[in-house]
Each structure stands twice: as structure tokens, then as C-alpha cells.
């Protein structure tokens, strides 16, 4: 029965999404109530899943099934546009136009890939080796930091126009963290 609890709880996030959509639909005196009620139902669903499915398993299961239900709700509210009629619209933001310079492209790729990766690995390694706590915890937390920091570094270097600043920061972080890790060198 336990796995079916996530299905049994699905009406809660779905009802929450319906309330949020009613708030989104337009201004009304009930709007704050809809917003509070919507988020409240999502929180209640997650809280209810803890005793029913387990403290970690329940929230993750409700998030997965609830997200799917919310997407179904969004899909059900699809608005069909007339292909021939051009809708009046504001200008959507456009990506910034950068000058196409070959060496900058290669340098940006190097920063986002290898250098951001080495800097992230350095941070993870520094946590694994230098932070307090049990060895396994330090290793796993340090290891989890690597993809997260690498992704952050990638996003930053690919969007920052000041490419040399990004280079300096990433190189500095890599040298400092790897240096600290290799200097200490023992778990």
C-alpha cells in the first residue's frame, strides 16, 4: 500500500495548483487567500507524506507525482492561438549580442569546461580533506559539491562578458583549494 500513498495524496498538490491558478487568472479580493491556500496545500501534502511514506521517501515521492499532476493541469489549460492572427506582444528579451572573436570563444569554453571543473574539484577535495567530520561524510558532501559548483561556474563563465575576471577567479580558486588539499594530503 505504501507506494500508493503518493497517489492518494496527489489531489492535495493538484488542488493547490488549482488555487494558485485561480490566483494567477486575475485580480480578485480572494487572491491572497488562493495563494496562501495553494502553497498551504502543497506543504500539507509533503508533511502528510512523512508519516505515510517515510521522512525522505514521502516528500520526494509527493514532489515527483505532484509536479506531474501540476503539469497535467497546465497542459489542460492550453490556450490555442490563431496561427494567422499576429498577437500583440511586448518585446521578449534577447540574448546579448557578443562580438564573435575566436580566441574568446575558445577561452570561454576552456573556462566553462576544464577550468571550472578543476576549480570545483578543488573545492570538493578541500572539503573532503580539510573539513571537520567523519571521512565518508566529508567525501560525499565534497563530491556532491563538485557537480553543483562546476555547473555554477559554467553558467557564470558562459554569461559573464568580463572573461578575464572569470579566468582570474577560477584559476585562483583552483590553485588555493587544490593547494590546500594536496598540502594537507591526508584524510
Amino acid at each position: 500500500m505504501s507506494p500508493l500513498w503518493s497517489l492518494a495524496l496527489t489531489p492535495l498538490p493538484l488542488a493547490g495548483a488549482v488555487l494558485l491558478k485561480r490566483a494567477w487568472d486575475g485580480p480578485s479580493p480572494n487572491r491572497p487567500g488562493f495563494i496562501l491556500g495553494g502553497w498551504g496545500l502543497l506543504v500539507i501534502a509533503i508533511a502528510a507524506s512523512v508519516p505515510l511514506m517515510g521522512p525522505a521517501r514521502g516528500p520526494f515521492a509527493v514532489l515527483a507525482v505532484g509536479s506531474t499532476a501540476a503539469l497535467v493541469l497546465v497542459a489542460a489549460g492550453v490556450e490555442h492561438r490563431n496561427a494567422r492572427k499576429k498577437a500583440a506582444r511586448e518585446l521578449a528579451p534577447e540574448p546579448s549580442d557578443r562580438r564573435r572573436v575566436v580566441w574568446r570563444g575558445w577561452l570561454r569554453g576552456f573556462l566553462a569546461g576544464p577550468l571550472a571543473g578543476v576549480a570545483a574539484l578543488g573545492c570538493g577535495l578541500a572539503v573532503a580533506i580539510c573539513a571537520p567530520g567523519q571521512i565518508q561524510s566529508r567525501m560525499v558532501i565534497g563530491g556532491l559539491m563538485v557537480p553543483f559548483l562546476w555547473a555554477g561556474g559554467m553558467a557564470w563563465t558562459l554569461s559573464d562578458d568580463k572573461i578575464l575576471r572569470a579566468f582570474a577567479v577560477l584559476a585562483g580558486v583552483a590553485v588555493a583549494t587544490l593547494g590546500a588539499a594536496f598540502l594537507k594530503g591526508a584524510l
Binding site: D25, P27, A61, A87, E90, A92, P93, V146, S159, A181
Partner: protein, 505 residues
Amino acid sequence: MDGSTAAAPAKPAKATGKPIWPKVPAEFVRAMLAGHSALGLAFAALIYLVCFSGSIAVFTYEYGRWEQPAGPVLHAVTPQAADAAFREVLAKNPKAHDLFLRLPEPAYPRLSVHGDDPQGGEHTWFADASGRLAGEQKTPWSEFQAELHTVLHLPRAWGGFIVGLTGVALLSSLVSGVLSHPRVFKDAFAFRWGGSKRLQEADLHNRISVWGLPFHLVVSLTGAFLGLTVIIVGVLALATFKGDTSKAYALFRGPTVEDDPRPAAKVIDIAAAITNLKTRYPNARPTYVFIEHPGESGQHAGVNLVTEGRLSRGETVVVDGAGQVLGEVGYESGSVGLRVLSTMTPLHFGWFGGWPVKVAYLLLGLGLTAVTSSGVAIWLARRRDKGRPAPRWERVWIAFVWSQPAAYAFSALIALFSPATPVVAVWGLATLAACASAIVGTPVGISLALRRISAGLLALVAVAHASLHFAAMADPAGWIVDAALLGTAAILAASTLKALRRAEA
């Protein structure tokens, strides 16, 4: 995510109060969008492939059951039957380095033993309720699709690294996508279809991205971590163990038993070990036993125990050759790190909440696949809007996108009739053939044709499978997967009819 819908009010402007979110400078949004586009384009094909294969891989166990639906289907076995199966496989190769005994569980109701033969070839045998071997496991297509997702059929270290790097790129795209979409919550329900291609794709891209965000973050972070483990542990070992990675891995293996190759007085008693552990852990269910150096003095076993209600791969208890419990690895009782580590695989694949979570993971995974596809479509449409169309890339991308359902279905069909044929080669050729359609067709024509071919192939797979196994479909998973394939084929076919009507209109 794309910022294109950031200002696309289909309704009259609403009188709203002061926004609760801080205003993001336009320059920042534009810079983030540029980075988001560059990253998305650089990794589009890899992210698409990893997301598509990952969505399919959620049901890996079910495909295995579908490929061999005759069973024996077992929902529980006695410890004695498990022990008998282990001994029968050991008798085939008494010098086996290790054996992997898998006990029936709800997701995979089979008793099986994996080991190698004297020539080094690997085999998995199924056993019946008494532990007698009933046949060899032959699930080439299930293995193909799982390996495509985890290592792209490359050498394990390289494949894992590339998949992990793809996970990092996906995670990075999520970060830059959220930052470049300042109206992320304000537009949360706006889903408009038709009209401008770019805005339609942008709505699809942004709505799935926003509502699937928790799932996207979880699978990309866990996937990147799992893929990069080899490199992370390698660097860690370099810094602390002079490059000896086995010492780093040993920290996660629990109690160790000294290697002693001298023959043991008797082979480890798996039945006694399971019985003993069932008494010690009454709420847990043994799922597998990994026996190392069976028949040697240093023989020992790791018994994995799963407790209902825990988000974990299970606790592993190490037992020595005499049946003495040496201790737990600590996946559920150890440090925070070990407990977090044990959640990674179930969280990544959706193997923690039964079929409702698996179905949700499949749909959300396909949603993420659609996000990747629409991201490139937005970029192509933007180029067209600006008077710089890239018709060749439009054809290539749509052909690649729809090549995968067709290639997966075709490889499954060939695997059904010719299990010895290398499935990856069939899949590769089918992918190339589908992509070659970019040479001749238009984007709409390619999309329609490949969707129809996929629908036809999926239906053919279901019908062929049902015909081949009709008389011996002991496992209901066989019928369920066939029905799901037919349903998918019908949806795909229906989508082409709608598209055709739209095109005619």
C-alpha cells in the same frame, strides 16, 4: 529556459500589485540567456540522448521481465532455495571469484544468480522456487538501454565521465535558465499553442522547466554525481592515497575480510546467513547477496536488506564464511555521507516509491527531453525570425529528435527475433538512417514520417512480443509493457493526424 515568453500576454494586461520578486536587470537577463543558449546548443544532442534514455531506463526491471516473461515468477523464496541456487551455480565454476545472488522483490520477481564460467564468460541463471536452475537470463535489449544511459556504450570510465559532464551541463542550464527567466512564477500557467513557432516552443520549454524543476534538479545533480564518481574518487585518491583508488572505495565497503585463498572446510551457508539476518532485522527484506571468494577460507558475503519506507538502496550486512555477522556498511545506520550516498541511485532512477513514482519519473523525464528539444527549436526559430534561418540544422535537429523512438523500437524488434545481434549496432544504424532523412525532407515532413514509423514499429514490437510469448506469459509485466507500447504507438499516431490537419488548415 528561454525568455521568449517573458512578455507574451495573451490576455489583456492584468492590474496587479507590486511584484514580490526583485526586478532583474535586463542586461543580466540578456547575458544569462546568451550563456544558456551557448551551453544548451553545445550539449543539446548529448543532453537529449541522456534524458531520453534515462526516461526509458526508469523501467529497466520491467523490460527485463518483459523480455523473458516465462519466469519462473517468484514473489518470495525460502533461504534454502536461495542457497541451493547459489550452490548449483558455484558447482559450474568452483573457482568463481564472486557470485551475485538476487532474491525476488516486487520490482523484479525472480530468483537469479550471476557469475562467470571457467572461461571467464559472464552468465545469469534463473532458478525456480526450489532453487533449481531453470534457464539462463537473456535480456539483451534491457541491458542495451541501461548501458546506453549510464555509459553510452563507451568504456566505463569514459562513458561515465561524459554522462556525468552532461549532467553538469544540464544542471548549469537549469541555473542559467532560472536566472534568465525573471517571470518564472508569473507566467507559470501560461501555456499557449499555435501562432508563432518560437513562442509556442518557448511556452512548452518554460512551463515544463518550471513545474518539473524539483525533479530536474534532483536527477541532474544525482546523475552528475554518479557519473563523475570515478574522477572524483580518482583525484581524491591521488591527493590522499598516492593514487590507490581501492583505499578510497574501501571507506564505503564496511567490515573487511582478509583475502585467504586456502580452501575452506565448507562453503558459506547462505540459507543460515539469511535466516539469521531475518531474525536480527525483522522489518527488512533481503534483496541480494554478494558472495566473494566462495569456497576459500576468506569467503564472505554482503547481504543487502531493504526496509520499507526508507529512501535508500538498503543496508548491507557483511557475514563471514562461518556465518558470523561482522557488521553493517552503514548505508542506513552510518554517517550522514553514507546515508546520502545510499539515496543517490533510487533518487536518480525513481526506484523508491513504487509504480506511481516510476510513471511520474517517466513523464517528467520525457518532459525534460522535450525541454531540450524545444530549446534548440527556439534557437532555430529565433534565427528564422531574425532573417538568418538555418534550414539544414532545422532538418537535422528534428530528424535526430524523432530518431530515438524509432531506433529504440527498431532495436527492440530485432532483439526479439535475433537476441544474438548486437543491439547497440542496430540502434546506431537505425539512428543514422533516421538522421539521414534530414537530407531529403522538410522539418514537418521528417517529424511526421519518423513519428509514424515509430508508432508502427512500437505496435509491431508489442504484437510480435505477444505472439512469441503468448503461451508462456507467466509474468503480467509482459502484457502490461505490450499494452503500454500499443498505447504509446496510438498516441504517436494520433499526434501525426492532428499535425496533418493543422498543416492542411
